[in-house]
Symmetry: C2
Subunit: 379 residues, 2 copies
């Protein structure tokens, strides 16, 4: 078996566990930094290792356009391509097709779209998306879904959820027929002594309607995926709504498989989702905010642009032990940001990732020690 | 004494030595990476340390405009400001005033100029420039000179050289009167048990005219600087001319003090300058070329933009042991560059600096072992 999930401890609904992929083990709950184009913008891979990053997210839509699936397949898969020798997860490209590209036509078969780069015409279906994900060779790949927009009427959300359910089946069938085409299939199978393929996760949709979410969860679970994600969140709805949907949907997903909420959240929110029983999360927030000079600290957010930091020789966060906080002052980081120096982005990103990863590390420790419910990490 | 230079070995005219500054020792011959705004663009300070960078160059003109001398003085000097706890050298700002700013008026007293950032009006004289350099607190600082343009008539070059000679005297006098105002004066004096100040270097000008260079060298040396630089090169003249001027001027500079050629050169050229007896060099070439995708290798230059590298899983340079070449492929680096990812700049810069620093390391070793004349490093 190439993918397995083991529960180690629970504390209320919160869970600590681990799963094994062909490129190594991941301890949960886990936060996955986003490395859209096979790079976490500005941060070298050895620094990601030092930070304790366990698994990265890459975007299929972006890598499909640049450098192309063929190129990455030829080079042995995305882990070898980016010299990141640990697990990687790719989304299906669905979310980006709907949010980034000029969408041309949505049919039962799939979506025709124009590249946001050069306007060229492309087509994604469950089959072509899965072919791309198999070709890229991430350890965990996602079924091709339609991300329902917000707001959406009940009728629209139902149609969209049903399309996603049909596409989930087609994603699963295509994957079963082609899973041995992953670039590292032979190498990893030989190395690990059993057949090694990717793990395919299904995605629950249903907009903001509890009964549609329930039906989506049931239909998705019935297909037999290796893990389950809740999609269609962080699309503009109020934060309480996101929490409500996660809270209602998590109990409908099998407890013996990883549960992943896509595209969340703030440092406070990721702790709350763990409390609801979520095992995996990804979010552009720490990396994107860093590029805009917004830093997360144990005392709240800090905007490094602010003139008050011009002569402040304190670290970003006196409680943080990351390599940025133990070396550089706010004054220096403000100077770099104000001067539009590239090092500003590099150092800000390293700090924000350290903040997120430290929170998850403490959360996991307190779940295992049984203290999680009472020890809410300050963030 | 806060600055001393010791010769260790010679091999023909080439020299290996070391000098001591308040922030540590530097082994020569040495290549100094350029960190204009108190950052080597994109490279964190711990990576510079790993690369074996011994001393950095910062630009007075840029730091004077942003974040300002007062700010850096307040924070304890540029070493503390940028958290680089080794030696730093600042130029006088003269070169940038003449090349970057909108020059308003040159008089005997100094130059009035407009900032290239916001057009604000400023004035640099030997006294104000030295005040800025003392305020920033680099270990080695440069006299304020006029960098003669190329081409220049004999008469123009003579006038310019004479102005530089008078400004050298004024720089020296100002420095002697104010050298105890360097931000770390008390701390370093207490720490090291003797009076610690900066080292002031004089600059030889004279355009492309050997007799003017000779006169400039004599007048500069007579003032009693801690080291001597050859300025006014790499201003557009043919490369053979640069070599000729260095070759003629080096023997006119005292052998018991460091000899520094400003603003050179290619990997091949820096070896040739060592061969002429040069101890110190700085150049934007490795860092600037990296930002344009131009990489230096033991087999010559490599343009990472080139489509031929799209599926090339070799390192930039199979003979290089840097952290980029031991981890990443040309295909990945090309993808980063083509996608305008910030990590391209970071990794390209690390490699190019490693290439320069490795050359200098081998050059130094072969001078000490006496094999330098025959062992021309391939570059």
């Amino acid at each position: 078996m190439s993918f397995s999930f083991q529960l180690e401890a629970t504390c209320g609904a919160a869970r600590a566990g681990r799963f094994l992929t062909p490129h190594g083990e991941v301890q949960t709950p886990v936060f996955m930094p986003v490395g859209t184009l096979a790079t976490v913008k500005g941060v070298p891979q050895d620094v990601l290792e030092e930070l304790g990053v366990q698994i990265l997210l890459n975007n299929t839509y972006h890598l499909y356009l640049r450098p192309g699936v063929e190129t990455i397949h030829h080079l042995g898969g995305v882990q070898k391509f980016m010299a990141w020798h640990k697990p990687i997860l790719t989304d299906s490209g669905g979310f980006q097709v709907f949010s980034l590209s000029d969408l041309r036509k949505l049919t039962e078969d799939g979506v025709q779209f124009r590249s946001h780069l050069d306007g060229s015409l492309h087509f994604f279906s469950p089959e072509t998306s899965l072919a791309a994900e198999i070709g890229l060779g991430a350890d965990i790949i996602m079924a091709f879904d339609e991300c329902t927009e917000f707001p959406a009427t009940y009728e629209r959300a139902r149609q969209s959820m049903e399309l996603t359910a049909r596409w989930a089946r087609r994603s699963h069938d295509y994957f079963q027929a082609h899973k041995r085409e992953v670039p590292w299939f032979e190498e990893k199978t030989r190395q690990l002594g059993s057949e090694q393929t990717q793990a395919l996760f299904g995605i629950v949709q249903g907009g903001m309607y509890p009964d549609l979410r329930r039906e989506s969860a049931e239909r998705t679970v019935a297909i037999g995926f290796s893990g389950h994600a809740i999609g269609g969140l962080s699309v503009g709805e109020p934060r309480e709504k996101t929490w409500e949907i996660v809270n209602q949907t998590i109990p409908l997903l099998p407890a013996d498989k990883p549960r992943y909420v896509m595209g969340v959240g703030t440092p406070e929110e990721i702790v709350e989702y763990v409390r609801l029983g979520v095992d995996m999360m990804d979010c552009v927030m720490p990396t994107r905010a860093a590029r805009h000079g917004l830093l997360f600290t144990s005392q709240g957010k800090l905007n490094i642009k602010n003139a008050r930091y011009a002569r402040d020789d304190n670290p970003i966060d006196p409680n943080c032990r990351c390599k940025v906080c133990t070396r550089y002052s706010r004054a220096y980081l403000r100077h770099l940001y104000a001067s539009q120096e590239v090092l500003a982005q590099v150092l800000n990103t390293v700090h924000n990732l350290a903040h997120y990863l430290d929170i998850m590390r403490r959360v996991r420790e307190t779940i295992i020690s049984g203290e999680f419910a009472i020890a809410r990490p300050v963030s």
